[in-house]
């Protein structure tokens, strides 16, 4: 037992909203820990932090953290978040979402939020299936995988979350896992520091549904898979094509500077104001 209460606890709504809904062995709590440590590193005032989410296991996170929290409808968290950020650009807005929430029902919203470069940090917890409804396939379920709605195996190709959002215009795109926690803390800090639409995809196990359906073992075995099946961007350079087969790459894929939507909107207001003064 730790001798003192970890500092992360002061960010939790400990009295009100626990116990949490997540299953034993779920990775979402680890992501929440990383987010809290990153927030602590940023030294943000809690009053200025907004956490938005949609629907699903990951989207339950806002209720547990003591920020301004907005638990919205399925897939819409970035649309709500866009409104929050525009109404009060001073706020630090983050969105937490699962793979189904972000890429299926929220697919349209996420590509447009990325294209606009709205200044929101998005954390996508990818557990390869819909956990809350009992393990149906999602846009990130790998080909061949079994889920409650793919009893004969998945036939649809999966999204590469990071490539999709790079293409859509995100200024910071990274991937981590809940096994590599210190790395994840740092990725989230960097995403928070980035002005504009920043994304961290976090690979996370769902032992209850996806793990059981695909006989991947319990929480420990699934954690080991994250360790064994991923390589970081430095390791990639040293490995040949054959060794890379079946491996998922962790690290930062995009880090670029483009004016954010609120910066552009502010400039637009100035321009419009001047034009109006000049009577155009």
């Amino acid at each position: 037992m730790p001798a003192r209460i970890p500092y992360e606890y002061k960010y939790l709504r400990a009295k009100k909203s626990f116990p949490h809904v997540w299953c034993p062995g779920c990775g979402i709590g680890i992501v929440m820990g990383s987010i809290i440590r990153a927030v602590d590193a940023m030294q943000w005032d809690l009053d200025d932090i907004v956490m938005v989410s949609g629907i699903g296991c990951t989207s339950r996170m806002p209720v547990y953290v003591d920020f301004n929290t907005l638990h919205t409808t399925h897939g819409r968290s970035l649309a709500f978040g866009t409104g929050v950020k525009m109404a009060n650009p001073r706020l630090n807005v983050m969105s937490v979402m699962g793979d189904g929430d972000a890429l299926a029902i929220g697919g349209n919203h996420i590509i447009h939020a990325a294209r606009r470069n709205v200044d929101i940090t998005v954390i996508i917890v990818n557990n390869n299936n819909y956990g809350m409804t009992g393990g149906q396939f999602s846009p990130t379920t790998p080909i061949g995988a079994k889920t409650a709605t793919t009893p004969y195996g998945m036939i649809e190709p999966e999204f590469d979350v990071c490539k999709l959002l790079e293409g859509a215009g995100a200024v910071f795109v990274a991937r981590g896992t809940v096994y590599h926690v210190t790395e994840l803390d740092n990725l989230i800090i960097k995403a928070f520091r980035k002005k504009g639409f920043s994304v961290v995809e976090v690979l996370s196990p769902c032992p209850t549904n996806f793990g059981r359906a695909n006989r991947l073992g319990g929480p420990v075995e699934m954690m080991k898979l994250l360790k064994e099946n991923t390589v970081n961007t430095t390791q990639v350079k040293k490995l040949n094509q054959k060794d890379l087969e079946g491996k998922v790459v962790r690290g930062i894929f995009v880090d670029r500077n483009i004016p954010s939507y609120d910066e552009r909107y502010e400039a637009l207001c100035e321009k419009a104001g001047k034009m109006a003064e000049e009577g155009k």
């Binding site: 929290t69 649309a79 978040g81 866009t82 409104g83 929050v84």
Partner: protein
């Protein structure tokens, strides 16, 4: 710049809605282009950036109303404008706003349906959707203007009611009103009453986002104001945290209903013309009300008397006033640009002895005064 205070000029209905929003202190607009509402977004796109207010065209109508809710929780008065198909998509967010008690104004310039229907033509096909379109039990306030000046005035009233009752309000003009132009005189700025929702003044640790105050509506804090709170579309307790406890669920549902039903007087807005000593009454709202007025004038020349009953606030329906004024009549004619929607409400509030006669039109054209005259002549 912005609202032409005190001026008299030719104004389009949609333009008047946009000016009404500016007059009411709109801080955020999000929308998606759709006929016949688009001019509202266009006028605001021109003025709002000049005034430093936020305007955005979202990727669809679901995103638009979602952004509206986010913006209001972060402190900006918000409005969107759409029409039938977009109104359908917005039902999700509308329900969320009802549940989380977020004020906003949703303008639905009604066009012919179902589905894509008649994009450029008039209808009143969405009045029941306005009431029951989103799932679950929920309160609704909906207002129906009947002229360009009313488009301006009722947009302001819609904003004010949304702030007073802490709930989304629907404005239901139709394609005719949205696109027609009329001469109107704008009021002076100081003549317009603008209501702001009260903000909490309790210590932060005492704050309850859904406190059950005397009138069932509690002051709403905004994100960034120092009051940290949780908002969810799940059933929640007074603080806003999810709950399944039956007493808390019942309390929430009762309060949502009561905040409207206990203050019907403030919401009711009914216009009546020549209701005394007439046995036939035309019940009409929106642009059809204009045809009813014209029909009344034609009939007057023929020495025939009819009364006109017009609800301006469609929802909540003016149950008592309808009963008090229409129950004693012989015939009520209900002309509507649909296959019969509000007629059910009229029938519900009148005795079996009153003949309630429908007059429908769903081909995308207006109900003419002559059609109403003919309907009256058959029964008078």
């Amino acid at each position: 710049m912005s609202v032409p205070w005190g001026e008299t000029r030719l104004v389009q209905g949609n333009e008047a809605v946009a000016y009404g929003a500016l007059a009411a202190g709109i801080g955020f607009f999000a929308g998606y282009p759709i006929t016949p509402s688009t001019e509202i977004a266009e006028v605001l796109a021109r003025y709002m950036p000049i005034m430093g207010k936020k305007w955005i065209q979202m990727e669809d109508e679901i995103a638009s109303i979602s952004a509206l809710i986010g913006a209001r929780i972060a402190g900006c008065k918000s409005m969107t404008a759409t029409s039938g198909p977009g109104f359908s998509l917005m039902q999700e967010g509308f329900g969320y706003a009802c549940m989380t008690e977020v004020p906003l104004v949703l303008v639905n310039v009604m066009r012919g349906g179902p589905s894509t229907g008649l994009p450029t033509q008039v209808s009143q096909g969405d009045v029941m959707q306005a009431r029951w379109g989103t799932h679950g039990d929920h309160p609704v306030i909906a207002l129906a203007p009947a002229g360009v000046k009313e488009c301006f005035e009722l947009t302001i009233r819609a904003f004010n009611l949304s702030e007073i009752f802490r709930t989304p309000v629907i404005l239901l003009p139709d394609e005719i009103l949205g696109h027609m132009r009329e001469r109107m005189t704008f009021p002076e700025e100081e003549e317009v009453e603008v209501v702001e929702m009260p903000v909490p003044d309790v210590p932060v640790e005492w704050y309850e986002h859904y406190h059950d105050s005397a009138n069932n509506v509690s002051p709403m804090a905004t994100f960034g104001s120092g009051y940290r709170f949780h908002v969810t579309g799940l059933m929640h307790d007074a603080q806003g945290f999810p709950t399944r406890k039956k007493e808390e669920v019942n309390a929430k549902m009762a309060r949502l209903k009561q905040k409207i039903t206990r203050r019907l007087k403030e919401l009711e807005d009914v216009r009546m013309h020549n209701m005394e000593d007439c046995s036939v009454v035309v019940f009409a709202y929106g642009s059809v009300y204009r045809s009813a007025l014209a029909a009344q004038a034609i009939l007057k020349k023929r020495k025939k008397k009819i009364g006109i009953f017009r609800p301006v606030t469609l929802w909540p329906f003016p149950d008592r006033t309808v009963k008090e004024n229409l129950d004693s009549k012989d015939v009520i004619i209900v002309p509507e640009l649909n296959q019969g929607q509000m007629i059910h409400e009229v029938e519900r509030m009148t005795k079996d002895t009153v003949r309630v006669i429908p007059l429908h039109r769903v081909d995308g054209y207006e109900i003419t005064p002559e059609q109403i005259v003919d309907a009256v002549m058959e029964v008078i």
